[in-house]
Amino acid sequence: MTERSVSGGQSVGAVLRESLITGVVALLLFAPLTGVSLSGYTLEGHWQRPVWLAGWVVLGRFAFGWLRARGHLVGRLSGRPKAGSALLASWIEAHRTFLLLALCVVALILPWFIGKYWLNVAILAWIYVLLALGLNIVVGLAGLLDLGFVAFYAVGAYGYALGFKYLDLSFWAALPFGALLAACFGVMLGFPVLRMHGDYLAIVTLGFGEIIRLVLNNWMDFTGGPNGVRVPFPSFFGIEFGRKAQPGHVTVHEYFQVPFSNEYRDIFLYLLLMIVVGGLVFVIRRLRRMPLGRNWEALREDEIACRSLGIQPVTVKLSAFGLGAMTGGVGGVFFAASQGFVNPTSFTFMESAHILAIVILGGMGSTAGVIAAAVILTVLPEALRDFAEYRGLLFGCAMVLMMVWRPRGLMGARRARFDRSGVA
């Protein structure tokens, strides 16, 4: 199929002409709107503003037209243009590897330039990616609606905080410790709710999340209650990120002979989180192709059929709960490390709802969609700080619109398929 011949395709020249016309129109529109402003009693001209805006319009129009001319944005079988979001999805599909690489490079470079504030936002975004991927195993893949996921997040965070307080655990010991502890809690929750489905399961997990928070809040002697617990910052092979090293250790700025800045610590956390998320994505990809992953999905679709096919639902469900909880626990350890302090107010039901929203928005079961949604839902509210009062409203509207336009999430659920070669 030649791409040019698809209806709606245009030559590059035509696209260029169209873009320029759009630009002229935009210039005419923007000039009176943005080109002059009132300053006191006099009018000031800002000729560069409309030019900039029109320039962006030209670029955007050109990019859109060009992609369409290349045939990427046109329904290939029907020749009928698809809806905008579906076009985007198919374009992403076509350039997967390249996009992935580009994104990785950008993500690697980003932390060095965005400054302390946005660095912290970015770390939070990565933590949400981690949490959402964990919940996605439980809800998206295994189909078990968990409204108390924050419990495992809290267990991980407190696992590090209290582990340090009582057992003198370092960050590196707390990572596996928090993960295992959370996994144990996941299995512990999993056992009693094995027979439950849908609404009942949702309510019990919701209760579980609240129980954990209330215990943390009220067990003053052990957890410090609402006062929280201080958490030390991680070190890197004995190299510390503080201003002054503990006796017998060195700090980063001494080691690399650079001036002190506590951004290094955040950059370190950022990069570490990136590695952990990368590893998790890899593991999830593998699992979905393995019998366990397929059993999760089959169990989601029909439990009775699964059982009469010889699948033991207990192990399958518990493994989903355990793995999801473990991921949540790791997220918690990172959260504690990045904040330097934990207290129970970070682990309310709103947090569970937020993570669930990410999973639903990203498209249940879709790894890429969930990652994108986690980043968007963390960064966007920060970017919209100026509209603080309307944030909830905007968020709600976005959610409703999403459900109307793309009920299956940003990416829809793309499922691992068998290789058909050797069969067909």
Partner: protein, 237 residues
């Protein structure tokens, strides 16, 4: 009935919660036989098939498979012994592809290429549609898939619940032809059917279930000729 029994029910009672459904049901299926169970709607046929798998569990009596009691075994353990079931309503996995559905059938989840090839030979359509989402198959195609999935575990005994339900005559003939081939390859069949005519013609022996009790048994042809059966289940005179 001179063959060794592969499946045997001895005085089995089954209830759905508090509602008793089966009362003292006894029957045997011999190795290599085709046995059919017919009965009116609500007689308890589907309940009987599921009860063999422990869903719901048998409240009194015993179920034996291949010389071993399976009365109290959990469902997945029963399934691993070499029984497979094509349940009422097919219960395929609609969101998974045809091929994935088949692979789900092969016990430990390994892709059993030989079993797959055999099923593809039996139902070539399942090979052609390997990548299609199972939920988008037609009813008859889904039935083939359900049978194929059950066969993936290479069962010694295959239980089928109304494989002809809702299918056109041509499709029914194809399914029954496939069942004959399955038997020829050495699998034993226990078949629940509304379509008594076809089922009794195919079967060596048959049982009639009414209100949760076995009321009649005999060879397929004898039941076909039985005036009572003709009146009640074959719409004859």
């Amino acid at each position: 009935m001179n063959r060794p029994a592969i499946l045997e029910l001895r005085g089995v009672d089954v209830a759905h919660g508090r509602t008793p459904v089966l009362h003292g049901v006894s029957l045997t299926v011999g190795r290599g036989e085709i046995v059919t169970l017919i009965g009116a709607n609500g007689a308890g046929k589907s309940t009987l098939l599921m009860a063999i798998f422990g869903l719901p569990s048998v409240s009194r009596g015993e179920v034996w498979f291949d010389g071993q009691p399976i009365t109290r075994l959990p469902t997945h353990r029963v399934a691993r012994l070499g029984l497979a079931q094509v349940p009422e309503g097919r219960r395929i996995f609609p969101g998974m592809t045809v091929l994935e559905n088949l692979v789900m059938g092969s016990m430990v989840g390994e892709k059993d290429e030989a079993a797959l090839a055999r099923i593809h030979a039996l139902f070539p359509l399942l090979r052609e549609r390997g990548g299609q989402r199972a939920g988008t198959l037609s009813g008859g195609e889904q039935q083939m898939l359900a049978i194929g999935r059950a066969l993936m575990s290479r069962p010694r005994l295959l239980l089928l619940d109304e494989p002809s339900l809702g299918l056109a005559p041509l499709m029914i003939r194809r399914i029954f032809q496939a069942l004959r081939e399955i038997v020829a390859e050495g699998t034993t069949l226990f078949l629940v059917e509304q379509n008594a005519n076809q089922a009794l013609r195919l079967a060596d022996r048959g049982y009639v279930l009414a209100n949760g009790r076995i009321v009649l048994e005999g060879s397929g042809l004898a039941l076909l000729a039985d005036p009572e059966v003709r009146r009640a289940y074959l719409g004859g005179h």
